[in-house]
């Protein structure tokens, strides 16, 4: 389980993230919302130990994150960055197979997991293709499959951090991807996902963290966070909120 205590991050002299106290619960999808530059990716970088904390600390289970050894940490914590720079012609299943690096589960088991993870990310049909021949959205799904394979099948105690996993996807795959993430969390893993689409956040997240200027504004259920007042205050956006006619979760409509 991943916990952040009073976390503060500084870039140069500027404080870019402050006062973050957060606990990612097993089985929960936590969405992070906020305008550009609000510190969402910084938060993700801090939570995975990539950015050193200026103040406060991040804990994985009962140990500070920096005290974990690489492979042990990688079996509990997987991270999907916003963009990837892979520029070599690996085959799709080789890329996903890299997610199995922290394990010695054997070739046969690894191949099963790679196939299952690709299926979960709706990228099974890409198997055998060269990564470089894929479109941006397809690449994004392959990397999602890679981080899913890293924690496959997903259980309590594991954490998945996703930075805008739907940014390049078509509408259908935005939903299939978040559906896969949802199912992954339902098996017990904790998920933190940075999103820009308020309606996707409303539908797939259990809790939402609203960030503005590096500070947490609200951390609550979608029903509480996705109201016109906080959205106006943080995004400067006038919205109508109505219940989804079939599902009941908030539906956000720009005025």
């Amino acid at each position: 389980m991943l916990r952040a205590q009073n976390l503060q991050i500084r870039r140069g002299r500027k404080i870019v993230l402050t006062d973050i106290t957060l606990e990612l619960k097993p089985g929960e999808v936590l969405g992070v919302l906020g305008p550009n530059g609000a510190g969402k990716s910084t938060l993700l970088g801090a939570l995975c130990g990539e950015l050193p904390a200026d103040h406060g600390s991040v804990w994985l289970d009962e140990r500070e994150l920096s005290h974990w050894n690489g492979a042990q940490r990688a079996r509990r914590l997987a991270v999907l960055p916003q963009v990837s720079t892979l520029d070599f012609a690996f085959r799709v299943e080789e890329v996903v197979g890299m997610g199995r690096l922290p394990y010695q589960s054997g070739r046969v088991r690894d191949e099963e997991i790679v196939a299952a993870a690709l299926q979960a990310a709706d990228a099974g049909h890409l198997s055998g293709r060269s990564y470089l021949a894929l479109s941006g959205g397809e690449r994004q799904r392959v990397h999602l499959a890679r981080v899913l394979a890293q924690l496959w099948p997903g259980e309590a105690g594991q954490t998945l951090l996703l930075d805008e996993p739907t940014s390049m996807l078509d509408p259908l795959h935005q939903h299939t991807t978040l559906q896969a993430v949802r199912e992954f969390a339902d098996r017990g893993a904790a998920v933190l996902v940075i999103l820009h689409d308020l309606n996707l956040a409303a539908r797939y997240c259990d809790r939402l963290l609203l960030l503005e200027g590096g500070c947490p504004v609200m951390l609550d259920t979608p029903e509480q966070v996705l109201r016109p007042e906080p959205l106006k205050a943080v995004f400067g956006l006038e919205v109508l909120v109505q219940p989804h006619p079939e599902r009941g979760h908030p539906l956000i409509i720009a005025r």
Binding site: C48, E50, N69, G70, A71, Q72, R73, A74, R75, L77, A78, V79, P81, S84, T85, L86, D87, F88, A89, F90, R91, E94, V95, M98, G99, L101, P102, S130, L132, A133, Q150
Partner: protein
């Protein structure tokens, strides 16, 4: 880009190619030996009980001249190709070259100091000269690389982009120092310096061979242990870190192996360009970028390429000998351009 051949087929093909290169390299030269005699003499040299009738001359040429030269070619080609793989992995760029981190220019500077300095002080005993040259070249390569690595570090992290730029700057600096030594050199040392910069397997001796064999075997055994980590590094440094790789340690090992391998190769055979750049690229075109295949296959391909290049160097203008660096550049540069233009299309 699709997979052209299966790894197993590639290994069989490359092994056969390498054996053929060894055979020809042992047989051909100013005194060409019949291929079958070469084979018999070579088998006798490795200890098989074969009748010695009429093989005395072949055995002498093989044992004293061709075998050390062939071994030198194998080791230099193999280790240059391996270093190329390591650097292309480190910089996550298929067009990276071992020279990027300053090891070649540092070795050139070391060699220039040894050649010109040795002739200025003049007092060095004849038998010591070649070793001084090798040792200085090796230390020069290691020294400049260490400096490049040091310049790329900040807050305990190595920035490969900074390293790349530091490598360019120090290469220019070392180049100007070499230029200064060239200016100061007299005609005889100038000739030595020039030929050294073009590389050659000529004059291979067991004494100069052992250090290189030791280093290249070490590098060839060590790097494949990092094959999976190198694969992950191609995803990006932070991604590799999230997969549990000790990225800083890996980068340090790659730089160290390259400095050691290229330093030893350059010290033994002078500057030989383009092998480290072209060979890994070629192998990647054939079987894809997986380092578990790429590393061992590059050793075989690099060794074969260098032996064939040496054959050209030996035979093209026989009995005179071309510097091998000219041959590898002649093959390598057009191929590099082809890769560049193909990538743009």
């Amino acid at each position: 880009m699709t997979l052209l051949i299966k790894p197993r087929a590639l290994f069989i093909g490359l092994s056969l190619l390498c054996l053929l290169a060894i055979w020809l390299s042992l047989a051909l030269g100013p005194v060409s030996l019949p291929l079958f005699d070469t084979l018999r003499a070579a088998l006798r040299l490795v200890g098989l009980p074969i009748a010695a009738d009429g093989l005395e001359q072949a055995e002498l040429i093989l044992g004293q001249i061709r075998l050390p030269r062939t071994l030198l070619g194998l080791a230099v080609g193999g280790v240059l190709a391996l270093s190329g793989v390591a650097m292309q992995g480190l910089f996550r760029n298929p067009l990276a070259d071992p020279g990027l981190i300053g090891v070649s220019s540092g070795a050139a500077l070391g060699a220039a100091i040894a050649i010109v300095g040795g002739s200025v002080f003049g007092g060095l005993p004849e038998s010591f000269g070649p070793y001084l040259l090798s040792v200085c070249a090796f230390l020069g390569g290691l020294g400049v690389t260490a400096l490049v690595y040091r310049l790329g570090r900040r807050n305990g992290q190595t920035n490969v982009a900074t390293m790349l730029l530091a490598g360019i700057a120090l290469t220019a600096l070392a180049g100007s120092a070499v230029g200064l030594f060239t200016y100061l050199a007299d005609d005889a040392t100038l000739r030595t310096l020039t030929f050294w910069n073009l590389g050659s397997l000529n004059g291979a001796s067991y004494a100069r061979l052992w250090p290189l064999l030791l280093v290249s075997t070490g590098v060839a055994l060590w790097l494949p242990r990092r094959a999976k980590a190198l694969n992950a590094l191609l995803l990006g440094e932070s991604e590799a870190g999230h997969l549990g790789i000790d990225v800083e340690g890996l980068k340090r090992e790659l730089v160290f192996c390259t400095a050691l391998g290229v330093g030893a190769a350059v010290a033994a055979a002078g500057m030989i360009g383009f092998v480290g750049l072209v060979v890994p690229h070629l192998v990647r075109l054939l079987v894809g970028p997986d380092h578990r295949v790429l590393l061992p296959a590059s050793v075989l391909a690099g060794a074969s390429l260098l032996l064939f290049a040496d054959l050209v160097a030996r035979l093209a203008l026989a009995p005179a000998e071309l510097p091998i660096g000219i041959v590898t550049a002649l093959i390598g540069a057009p191929f590099f351009l082809y890769l560049l233009l193909r990538g743009r299309a």
